[in-house]
Amino acid sequence: MEKPEKLIVDGKRLDGRAPDELRPLKIEAGILKRADGSASVELGANKVLAAVYGPREMHPRHLQQPDTAVLRCRYNMAPFSVDERKRPGPDRRSVEISKVTREALEPVLFLELYPRSAIDVFIEVLQADAGTRTAGITAATVALADAGVPMRDMISSVAVGKIDDTIVLDLTKAEDNWGTTDMPIAMMPRKKLITLLQMDGHFTKEEFEQALDLAFKGCEQIYGAQRQALREKYAIKKGE
């Protein structure tokens, strides 16, 4: 695909969205049998699964912490999730994303309730189109709730960025590649506290503030969809 001349024409993006518009979003909770909690997120062409195991006994034992559970996160991409087949196994990018994902989720967990335990969060990207780390955090939060892990608040996550000098919500891969700036963000939607923030590209002070505005708005929508997914799961269960 060649770089298009413009990424925004007549106020519309390549896929027809307005700058402040999210891609179609579908969240489902409790989709896996074996996991203690699970969720899937489809955001545009992204397909992401998350599963939670735990709190469970920590292995290997020497990693046990006497006064707290340990949260472990693994973000991983399927070999077929991207255009050129990705070799299986962690690369530097996925190691970093796993780390910031853990740091994005940990602030809402009560790990001190489960000494010597592990809580494992596994995120699998099945199909990728930019925004997989934020979709993964969004899915992981629903999976944690589905697993019954107590939380202070949810974590909702989305990316904002700059393309053609416009601040936009929820970049596609084309927008990420040819745009100027990408800023993934995660926050507690009720307390408005930011638990993940990364950014690369270029922002003036004003643009940064505009981007934060849009991120807050986007996370609000994500939060709504997360709650809806959990309500549906719960309703079905009650109706069973």
Binding site: L32, K33, R34, A35, S38, A45, K47, L49, A50, A51, Y53, R56, R74, N76, A78, P79, F80, S81, V82, D83, E84, R85, P88, G89, D120, F122, E124, L126, Q127, A128
Partner: protein, 254 residues
């Protein structure tokens, strides 16, 4: 791959088997419900999501140009990889594929390779220099038993779903699929032969035998697993089960 089952449940499953019964009310030669979703992943040339009961396996096909093996200059390449994802079972751990994942990939590989399911000779761009390599990545999402059959089915469904590449070197009108091998795994529980074991049944079984067959019922690959053994008669019964059940599975491939 076989998980620990409590001794009470173990005895219960074994007793049921002796009576020709199973914990989920199936007959010994009955599969769970099977569904095949083709093309769920657009970033792959072909893909499929197979569910057998609660077991979920996804397979994706990617094609890349590669240099052929020195001893096979006129053949495309087939590479099968399997990941037992840690989200699929509390017993799967992150890291490089262990012996169970490697065996799974190699058994699926042999079924496809030995039946000539793909006409690899058609995947040559330039003899000895440039061929197509077909990667089949098997992604186990939820492990409720019988991963081999589910994986083989997903792999074959993904191949059948695979679309020609948009690449000027790709001159075939379609993916050169010429056979539909299907694997059926038979396990032995308390001296009874059982198909499509769920994860608890696998925890109780003595041994398993996987038999991959093609359209005419002949065998293209076999693999015994587990620490028990089979008599000759049991093997012959297992083959008969594999032939009959294999035809049922193949019908689902369309």
């Amino acid at each position: 791959m076989h998980e620990i089952v409590s001794s009470v449940k173990r005895d219960y499953i074994a007793d049921l088997a002796r009576q020709g019964k199973r914990i989920d009310t199936r007959t010994l030669d009955q599969f769970r419900e099977i569904s095949i979703e083709v093309g769920p992943v657009k970033s792959a040339q072909g893909s499929a999501l197979v569910k057998i009961g609660k077991t979920q396996v996804m397979a994706g096909v990617k094609v890349e140009r590669a240099e052929p093996f020195a001893d096979k200059p006129d053949s495309g390449m087939l590479i099968v990889n399997a990941e037992l994802l840690p989200l699929a079972s509390p017993t799967f751990e992150p890291g490089r594929p262990g012996e169970n994942a490697i065996e799974l990939a190699r058994v699926v590989d042999r079924g496809i390779r030995e039946s000539d399911a793909i006409d690899l000779e058609k995947l040559v761009i330039k003899s000895g220099e440039d061929v197509w390599a077909v990667f089949i990545d098997i992604y186990v999402l939820d492990h409720d038993g019988n991963l081999i059959d589910a994986s083989a089915l997903a792999a074959m469904a993904a191949l059948l779903n695979a679309k020609p590449l948009e690449d000027e070197a790709w001159t075939l009108p379609e993916f050169p699929i010429q056979k539909k091998p299907v694997a059926v795994t038979v396990v032995k529980i308390n001296d009874r032969l059982v198909v499509d074991p769920c994860v608890d049944e696998e925890g109780v079984m003595d041994a398993r035998i996987t038999i991959a067959t093609i359209e005419d019922g002949s065998i293209c690959a076999m693999q015994k697993g587990g620490i028990g053994c089979f008599s000759r008669e049991e093997l012959e019964q297992a083959h008969e089960l594999a032939r009959v059940k294999g035809a049922e599975l193949r019908a689902k491939l369309g």
